[in-house]
C-alpha cells in the first residue's frame, strides 16, 4: 500500500441549489507536491475549506483520513493542531503590524502569566524567516515589504506552526516570474529537506508542470483524473484537456490585424511621483503610443510602474507632481479627473477588481452602468431603471457571464464572472482606448479565452488596447507590440514578430541588474 498523508473520500458538499462537490476523492502522497487544477468555480477552494475545517464536519458528507486516522474538523484550529496549514490567495496579514507580530498572531509566544515574551517571539520569527530565505528585519511592518515577501511571511508563519501539510491557494497569482520560481523552489526544498507535503492550487500550468509530482484535475465539483508527473515533463495542453474537457486548439483566438497608421493615444515625457513619498519617482519620462486597432502590451516586474503609469494617465488617478503630455487622436488633452478621462474616451480596467473595480454589494446592473450613468438617464438625470436592466442583460449575454439574473449582487459571482462584469462596465462607457491591467489574473482557462475574444472584438471595432500583464505567454499571444518597463522606465520595445519569452525576460533582468543613471 502506498503511504498517503491524506485521503479524502466521497466528499460531497451541497449549497442550496448547487452541488459544489460531488463525491470527490483525493489522495495525497507523503512528502510530495500535489497540484490541484480546475476552472474557477470547479470546487477546489471548497474542497480545501473542508480539509482545513473552515467548513465544519457536519456541513458536508464524506470522510477525511489524515495519517490514516479519520478527522472531523470543526474549526481551523483543529486542522492546524495536526500540522495542516492553508495559505489563502488573499493574504491574511495585518499591514500595520510587524513581521514577527503577524507571524505569531493568535499563536503568541507567552509566559505562564499570559504576557507576551517578545525576545522569544523575535527569535523564533528570525528562525522561521531564515528557513524561507526571507531577508528582512523581524520588526519591519508588513505594509513596507512587497507582495512577494508577504507571501514568504505567510509561509514562515506556517513553518513556525510546525507544518506537515501545506496548502497554498494561488500563491503566485500576484508574483512575478522570478519570485514565483523562488517560491516553487522553496516548496521543493521543503519536500526534500523537511518532508513537508504541499498541495498547490494554481492556474499557472507551467508551474504545475515544473513543481508537481502529481496533478489532480477537478471539474464541475468532480475529480476527473489524477495525472502522474514524477518526471516533471507533462505537456500543458494535456492538463488543459482535462480541465475543460475539450482540446483548446488555440489558447489565443485568432484576429485579423487591422492596424491603421493613425495613432490613437500617445504619452510624451510622462513622469509621476509617489503620492505619499513625493520624492520617489515612480514613472520616469515615459514615451509610448498605441495605434488604432492595436493591442500593445506592457511587460515588467511587479512594481515596475506599469499600473502607476496607466492610472496616472487615466485622469491623474494616481501619483503626485505629474508632468508630461497626453494626446488622443493627435490632439493634446489635459485630463484632471477620471471623469475627464472617461469623457475623452479612455478606460482603465483595474488589476484589483474587488477593491478598485466593482461595488460588490451592488447588482450587476448597477455596476455595469456606473461609469457612464448618463447613458441610461434623461437630460435631468432621472434614471431609466428598466432600460438599465436591459442594457445589463445584453452585456451578460454578450460576455457569457454566468448569473441567474442581472439583479444578482456582484459579490456572489465567481472571479471570472466578476471580471466580465468589470469589462462590461468599461465597454458600456464606450472608450476608444482601453487600459487593461492584468485582465485575466486569477481566472480560469475557459474564461481567459473568452476575455481574449472580447479584446479581439474591441480592436476589430477600431478601439485600441493597452494590456498590462505579468503573464508573458499571454502578452506574446495577444499583442502586436510589447513594451518592457523597469523601475519606471521603458527599457525595451518589441514587435510581435521579434518578441520571444527569452528576449523579454532578459531585457527585464538585464536592466534590473544595471541601474544606470541615464542623465
Amino acid at each position: 500500500m502506498k503511504d498517503y498523508i491524506l485521503e479524502m473520500k466521497n466528499i460531497t458538499k451541497e449549497y442550496p441549489g448547487v452541488k459544489a462537490l460531488d463525491n470527490v476523492n483525493l489522495q495525497i502522497k507523503r512528502a510530495g507536491i500535489h497540484a490541484l487544477v480546475g476552472e474557477n468555480g470547479a470546487g477546489k477552494s471548497t474542497l480545501m475549506n473542508i480539509l482545513s475545517g473552515t467548513i465544519p464536519y457536519n456541513e458536508y458528507s464524506g470522510q477525511i483520513f489524515y495519517n490514516n486516522q479519520e478527522c472531523k474538523f470543526q474549526k481551523i484550529h483543529d486542522s492546524e493542531n495536526l500540522g495542516i496549514v492553508i495559505i489563502h490567495q488573499e493574504l491574511a496579514l495585518i499591514p500595520e503590524l510587524t513581521i514577527a507580530e503577524n507571524m505569531f498572531l493568535g499563536n503568541e509566544r507567552k509566559n505562564k502569566f499570559g504576557i507576551i515574551d517578545w525576545n522569544e517571539t523575535f527569535h523564533q520569527a528570525a528562525v522561521a524567516m531564515k528557513a524561507v530565505g526571507l531577508n528582512e528585519s523581524t520588526q519591519s511592518l508588513i505594509k513596507d515589504i512587497g507582495t512577494g515577501k508577504q507571501q514568504l511571511v505567510e509561509i514562515a508563519k506556517a513553518i513556525s506552526k510546525n507544518v506537515k501539510l501545506l496548502i497554498l491557494d494561488e500563491p503566485t497569482s500576484s508574483l512575478n516570474d522570478e519570485d514565483s520560481k523562488m517560491l516553487l523552489d522553496m516548496l521543493i526544498r521543503f519536500k526534500k529537506e523537511k518532508g513537508i507535503t504541499s498541495i498547490i492550487i494554481t492556474h499557472k500550468l507551467q508551474e504545475v508542470a515544473y513543481v508537481a509530482d502529481e496533478i489532480t484535475v477537478i471539474r464541475d465539483g468532480m475529480t476527473i483524473e489524477t495525472i502522474d508527473n514524477s518526471n516533471h515533463s507533462i505537456n500543458e495542453e494535456r492538463i488543459i484537456k482535462g480541465m475543460v474537457g475539450r482540446e483548446l486548439e488555440d489558447r489565443y483566438p485568432q484576429r485579423e490585424h487591422n492596424i491603421s497608421d493613425e495613432i490613437m493615444f500617445e504619452a510624451g515625457n510622462w513622469t509621476v511621483y509617489h503620492p505619499i513619498y513625493t520624492e520617489k519617482c515612480v514613472v520616469d519620462n515615459i514615451n509610448f503610443f498605441v495605434r488604432k486597432g492595436e493591442v500593445v502590451g506592457f511587460s515588467g516586474l511587479q512594481g515596475a510602474g506599469r499600473t502607476e503609469l496607466a492610472k496616472s494617465l487615466f485622469g491623474r488617478s494616481y501619483g503626485s507632481h505629474i508632468s508630461g503630455q497626453e494626446f488622443i487622436a493627435g490632439k493634446e488633452v489635459f485630463l484632471k479627473s477620471s471623469r475627464d478621462a472617461i469623457v475623452n474616451g479612455l478606460a482603465y480596467v483595474t488589476e484589483d477588481r474587488k477593491t478598485d473595480g466593482l461595488i460588490l454589494s451592488e447588482t450587476i446592473s448597477k455596476n455595469t452602468t456606473l461609469a457612464r450613468m448618463e447613458k441610461i438617464a434623461d437630460k435631468r438625470g432621472v434614471l431609466d431603471v428598466a432600460k438599465e436592466n436591459m442594457v445589463a442583460k445584453d452585456y451578460v449575454k454578450a460576455m457569457k457571464t454566468k448569473t441567474p439574473s442581472v439583479l444578482q449582487k456582484v459579490g456572489n459571482l465567481s472571479g471570472g464572472n466578476q471580471q466580465k462584469v468589470l469589462l462590461s462596465k468599461w465597454m458600456f462607457a464606450e472608450p476608444d482606448v482601453l487600459f487593461l491591467d492584468e485582465p485575466t489574473r486569477g481566472i480560469d482557462v475557459g474564461a481567459k479565452y473568452e476575455i481574449y475574444s472580447i479584446i479581439n472584438d474591441m480592436v476589430s471595432q477600431g478601439k485600441s488596447v493597452v494590456m498590462i500583464s505579468s503573464d508573458l505567454t499571454e502578452l506574446l499571444g495577444m499583442c502586436d507590440r510589447i513594451y518592457v518597463m523597469n523601475e519606471g522606465k521603458i527599457t525595451g520595445e518589441f514587435s510581435a514578430e521579434e518578441a520571444t519569452q527569452e528576449k523579454i525576460m532578459s531585457t527585464i533582468l538585464k536592466s534590473d541588474c544595471t541601474p544606470v543613471d541615464r542623465r
Partner: protein
C-alpha cells in the same frame, strides 16, 4: 415569494403593524382617535424630514451628522429672534435657511474636501451651533407669535363653506384623489414596462401592494377629516420625503451616494468625485435641519437653548431601524420612513399610557438594538448559504 422571504422583506412593516395593534389594544383604542393619528406625523415631522438627509450621510459609508439638533436650534432661534423684533416673517425664514445652507457648505467642505472625519466635524458643529443659538437667544426662551409665520407651518387646510371642524370633507376628497392617482400611475407604468418588454413584477403582487397602500391613505384621510383637516405641516413633510425618495431611487445624483458607500475607490475610478458626494450629503442634511427648525419652532410656539437636544439621535435611529446599513451603501427612504413612524408610534403610545420619559428611552434603545441585530444576523445567514 415564499413566506420566509416575505417576512424578511417586510419585517419592519410587520413590526410597525404589530406595535400599532399592540398600543391600540393597550390604550383601549385611544391611539386610533383622530387627533392622535393626525398628531402622530406632526409631532415627528422633524424626524421624518431629517431622516431623509441623514440617510444620505449614512449611505456614504455609515457616517452620521451629529450637529443637526444644534443646527435645528440655531435656525429656530434666529427666526424666533427676528420675529420678536418685528421683522417680516419671510425675511426671517430666508435668513434661517441661509444660515442652514452656510452650515451645510461649511461642514460639507470640511468633510468632503479637507477629509475631516464626519463624526468629529459634526461633533464640533454640535457644540458650536448650539452655542451660537444660545448667544442669539441670550439664554432666554423666545416665544413665536407672528401669525403669518405660524400659519405657514401649523395651520390646517379648510375650505370655507365646505368644511367644518369635525367634518372636513376636503381632506377626504384629497385622500380619494391621491389614492386614484397612485393606483392609475402604478398600473400605467407597469403596462408601459410590459409594452417595452422590460421585466415587471406579477400583476397580483402589484395590485395587493397598491390596494394596501390606498387603504392606508384612505384611512388616514378619513381620520384627518374628523380632526381639522389636512395640516400644512403634512404637506411640508410629504414634499420633502417625496423629493428625497425620488432622488435616491431614480436619479443619477442619488445613485452616487450608494456607489460611494459601496466602494469609494471604485467609484472614484468610475469618474465620480466622492468629495462632491460627501459635500452634497452634508449640505442637504443641514438644509433639512434648518427647515425642521422652522417647523418645530412654529409647532412648539417658542424656542429655547435646549431645543433639538438629541434630535439627531432620533433621525439616526430611524435610519438604522428602517434598514439602512451601518456600513453604508444600502437603505431606502421608504424604509427609514417606516423606521421613523415606528419610533413615533412607540413614543406616542407610551405618552398616551402616561409612562414617564425613562421608559421611553429604554424601549427606544431596545428597539434600535433589536432592529440592527436582526438585520445583521439575518443578512449574515443569507450571506453564508
Amino acid at each position: 415569494m415564499n413566506a420566509n422571504k416575505f417576512v424578511k422583506k417586510y419585517t419592519m412593516v410587520l413590526a410597525l403593524l404589530v406595535v400599532f395593534v399592540f398600543f391600540t389594544y393597550l390604550t383601549g383604542g385611544r391611539l386610533l382617535l383622530a387627533q392622535n393619528i393626525s398628531n402622530l406625523l406632526l409631532q415627528n415631522a422633524y424626524v421624518l424630514i431629517m431622516a431623509c438627509g441623514m440617510l444620505l450621510c449614512i449611505l456614504t459609508g455609515g457616517n452620521v451628522d451629529l450637529s443637526v439638533g444644534s443646527t435645528l436650534c440655531l435656525s429656530a432661534a434666529l427666526s424666533a429672534k427676528m420675529l420678536s423684533m418685528g421683522i417680516n416673517p419671510l425675511i426671517a425664514i430666508l435668513s434661517s435657511v441661509t444660515v442652514a445652507c452656510i452650515i451645510g457648505v461649511w461642514q460639507g467642505w470640511l468633510i468632503g474636501y479637507i477629509h475631516i472625519p464626519p463624526f468629529i466635524c459634526t461633533l464640533a458643529g454640535m457644540f458650536l451651533f448650539r452655542g451660537i443659538a444660545r448667544v442669539i437667544l441670550d439664554s432666554k426662551t423666545v416665544a413665536v407669535m407672528d401669525k403669518k409665520f405660524l400659519s405657514l407651518f401649523t395651520s390646517y387646510i379648510q375650505i370655507p363653506g365646505l368644511d367644518v371642524n369635525q367634518r372636513v370633507i376636503s381632506s377626504m376628497a384629497v385622500g380619494i384623489l391621491v389614492a386614484i392617482v397612485i393606483t392609475a400611475y402604478t398600473f400605467i407604468s407597469e403596462r408601459n414596462k410590459m409594452k417595452k418588454g422590460y421585466e415587471s413584477a406579477s400583476i397580483n403582487a402589484t395590485a395587493i401592494k397598491v390596494a394596501i397602500f390606498d387603504l392606508v391613505i384612505l384611512f388616514y384621510a378619513y381620520k384627518l377629516m374628523s380632526y381639522k383637516g389636512i395640516p400644512i405641516m403634512l404637506i411640508w413633510i410629504l414634499v420633502v420625503v417625496a423629493i428625497f425618495a425620488f432622488i435616491t431611487s431614480s436619479t443619477v445624483f442619488g445613485r452616487y451616494f450608494y456607489a460611494v458607500g459601496g466602494n469609494e475607490k471604485a467609484t472614484r475610478l468610475s469618474g465620480i468625485d466622492p468629495r462632491k458626494v460627501y459635500f452634497w450629503a452634508y449640505f442637504l442634511m443641514s438644509l433639512l435641519a434648518g427647515l425642521s427648525g422652522l417647523l418645530v419652532g412654529a409647532r412648539i410656539g417658542s424656542v429655547d437653548g435646549n431645543m433639538g437636544n438629541s434630535y439627531e439621535m432620533d433621525a439616526i435611529a430611524s435610519c438604522f431601524i428602517g434598514g439602512a446599513s451601518a456600513y453604508g451603501g444600502s437603505g431606502t427612504v421608504q424604509g427609514i420612513m417606516i423606521g421613523a413612524i415606528l419610533l413615533g408610534v412607540i413614543n406616542q403610545g407610551m405618552s398616551i399610557l402616561g409612562l414617564p420619559d425613562q421608559f421611553q428611552y429604554i424601549v427606544k434603545g431596545a428597539v434600535l438594538l433589536g432592529a440592527v441585530v436582526f438585520d445583521v444576523v439575518s443578512n449574515h445567514k443569507t450571506g453564508k448559504s
